[in-house]
């Protein structure tokens, strides 16, 4: 499984990414830290708008131009900070060392170029090989993602393919450079349920074959249980709990994690009303000074509202940011 004691391939330390808008500053990512080890799949879970995708885009350094900026923190890829690299160096890193699958396969391929051209471009950019070799590699890349008759598919346009097939093509493109780290930003959310499982299995197989590390962003605990070794739960711009999947599922220690797990519908047992979390997540423009979950937390005390809790270890490799854990 994982090699937790090995050096992390990707380490994010105290990352802050803010949007500077006329209305104010939106703290989309506000002090996120995690590490990702070789061959490991780390799930990043949280509700919409909690900063998962912005964390991914900050790591890739592909934030929307203009308003968004990473103001603080370090992103160490193989021990080297990529936030300080020049745009040119960053282009060399993208695709070959770190890559990313986007959420919606319908829009992530360019509609006016054939899939072959879009693959060729990615491969040629790295190898500068002869056209014949590049095309052979492209066909091979399509075959690796289980696309039947890749020789014919390579001349087709994205609109001639199904959503699941497009997402596999995207996978072939982003993994053609054999990156050590892959960020998958809700890669199955836009797919049919029947296709989702197929895609997850494909990702798992490719991950085993190549030994790459995956940062798997999702809001689906079922997907986490299937795919991930460890999981980090994110709420309002920060990671509130992190541990192995077994630890977090069996002993959720942050009230938010507990509430999230409780609100997943169960397939067994008596039918009850589905648990929901009271209230709304805080505005990222006007965050509380203390724990961000305190206003919705059934266990909140005065100091929860005043001081943000540090990380408390629940067990080895499992910690959570909650004052309730201090006493233990």
């Amino acid at each position: 499984m994982t090699e937790l004691d090995s050096e992390p391939v990707l380490e994010v330390r105290d990352l802050h990414t803010h949007f500077f808008l006329r209305r104010g500053v939106v703290k989309a990512v506000d002090g996120v830290s995690f590490s990702l080890h070789k061959g490991e799949v780390l799930g990043l879970v949280g509700e919409s708008g909690c900063g998962k995708s912005m964390t991914a885009l900050s790591v890739m350094r592909l934030l929307p131009k203009g308003s968004a900026r990473t103001v603080q923190g370090r992103v160490l890829l193989h021990g080297e900070d990529i936030l300080t690299r020049s745009p040119r160096e960053m282009r060399e890193i993208r695709g070959s060392q770190i890559s990313m699958i986007l959420q919606d396969p319908q829009t992530s391929l360019n509609p006016v170029f054939t899939v072959g051209e879009q693959l060729r471009e990615a491969i040629f950019h790295r190898t500068h090989g002869r056209n014949k070799d590049v095309m052979r590699e492209a066909i091979e890349a399509l075959r690796r993602v289980d696309i039947a008759a890749p020789e014919q598919r390579i001349g087709q346009f994205p609109h001639q393919m199904s959503g699941g097939m497009k997402q596999r093509v995207v996978g072939a493109i982003v993994m053609s450079g054999q990156p050590g780290v892959l960020i998958a930003d809700e890669p199955t959310t836009a797919l049919d349920v029947t296709i989702q499982l197929q895609y997850l299995k494909l990702l798992q197989r490719l991950q085993r074959e190549t030994g790459m590390a995956i940062l798997f962003i999702t809001h689906d605990f079922g997907v986490v249980a299937r795919m991930c070794d460890r999981v980090a739960v994110m709420y309002a711009g920060r990671i509130v709990e992190c541990g192995t999947v077994e630890q977090v599922f069996e002993n959720p220690s942050h009230p938010y994690t507990r509430a999230l797990i409780a609100s997943v519908p169960k397939m067994t047992g008596p039918i009850e009303r589905l648990y929901t979390i009271e209230g709304q997540p805080p505005s990222l423009m006007d965050l509380p000074v203390g724990c961000r979950f305190a206003p919705r937390c059934p266990h909140a005390e005065q100091r929860c509202h005043d001081i943000y809790p540090p990380a408390f270890a629940v067990e080895t490799g499992h910690d959570a940011h909650c004052w309730m854990l201090e006493a233990e």
Binding site: M60, T107, P111, V112
Partner: protein, 305 residues
């Protein structure tokens, strides 16, 4: 595809009938060519015989039916002033107009498209505003004013370029600029807005994830998509050029169909005017159809039905 083309051709025929009818009656509202052709001391008898010779006698509806009957046989009549078949007059002048239109389009695209891309990349800052100013100036400056201004500066004051008439390459410069100027603005604004839209796309993000250079991302992935809406307006632009040529050719004494149109109106040369408008309409309709067919090749998602 075949059905689509047949359908469009039928639409075109209906449109041509309407155009022919309108131009026939509208032309006759302007007066009588005989008044312009006869000397002031002509006798009423001279007038009557002249009107008869030109076929302008008899009730208007009868003249119209004769016109329609002849037009259906491909005969658009004799030019009153030039004493040659109107169609012949049109086609003898057409090459001169076609000699400047492609250059104007090339100029408009060559300046307008990069300006649009630069404006989009620099959204909101000085470069964007500068490009916007160029666009507004291009749209707001009428062709006759720009043409005369150019003649004044480059022919009269500086003496660098000829002020009109056809000739060597230097004769083309000013008419081509005059004709292309307002299209620069059209291309620029269109490319800017569609670039801004395309640059937000997910596939642009994926192109960057692949590690492609910014140059390839912008000028290949973005621009190719941004040009699709530009192509749809090509037909409109060519129409604009053909009408714009009337003013440009008149200002520069260019012997093309634009100037011929102007002359036909001024001399009330009805058969010639009818022929010009109908033939120009056919030209514009065919270009539009051609553009639509081309569209399907540029954007693979489009299937004409």
């Amino acid at each position: 595809m075949k059905r689509y083309i047949v359908h469009r051709l039928l639409q075109g025929v209906v449109l041509l009938c309407l155009v022919g009818t309108i131009v026939f009656f509208l032309g006759r509202l302007t007066g009588n060519p005989v008044d312009l052709m006869l000397p002031e001391d002509a006798t009423p008898e001279d007038r009557v015989s002249m009107i008869k010779a030109l076929g302008l006698d008899g009730p208007l509806y009868r003249q119209f039916f004769i016109f329609v009957g002849n037009a259906l046989h491909g005969d658009l009549g004799m030019s009153i002033r030039m004493r040659q078949p109107a169609t012949e007059a049109f086609f003898s002048r057409l090459p001169n107009t076609l000699a400047i239109i492609p250059w104007s389009i090339l100029l408009a695209m060559g300046v307008g498209i990069p300006l649009g891309v630069i404006a989009a990349l620099n959204r909101g800052n000085v470069l964007d505003r500068a490009a916007g100013t160029v666009a507004v100036l291009g749209v707001a400056t009428p062709g006759f004013f720009l043409g005369i201004l150019l003649i004044f500066v480059f022919s009269v004051e500086l003496g660098w370029l000829p002020s009109g008439r056809m000739g060597g390459p230097e004769h083309y410069v000013l008419p081509v600029i005059t004709l292309g100027a307002f299209l620069v603005a059209g291309f620029m604004r269109l490319v800017r807005s569609s670039m801004l839209e395309v640059m937000e796309s997910e596939f642009v993000k994926l192109a960057r994830i692949k590690g492609l250079s910014e140059w390839v991302v912008i000028w290949k992935h973005c621009l190719r998509n941004a040009l699709i809406p530009v192509l749809t307006l090509w037909g409109v632009f060519v129409g604009n050029l053909i009408t714009g040529a009337i003013i440009t050719e008149t200002v520069f004494a260019w012997p093309g169909v634009g100037r011929l149109t102007y002359e036909a109106v001024i001399f009330r040369d009805f058969p010639l005017l009818q022929a010009i408008i109908i033939l120009k309409s056919i030209l514009i309709l065919s270009i539009n159809l051609l553009v639509d067919i081309l569209y399907a090749y540029v954007d693979p998602r489009i299937r004409l039905t």
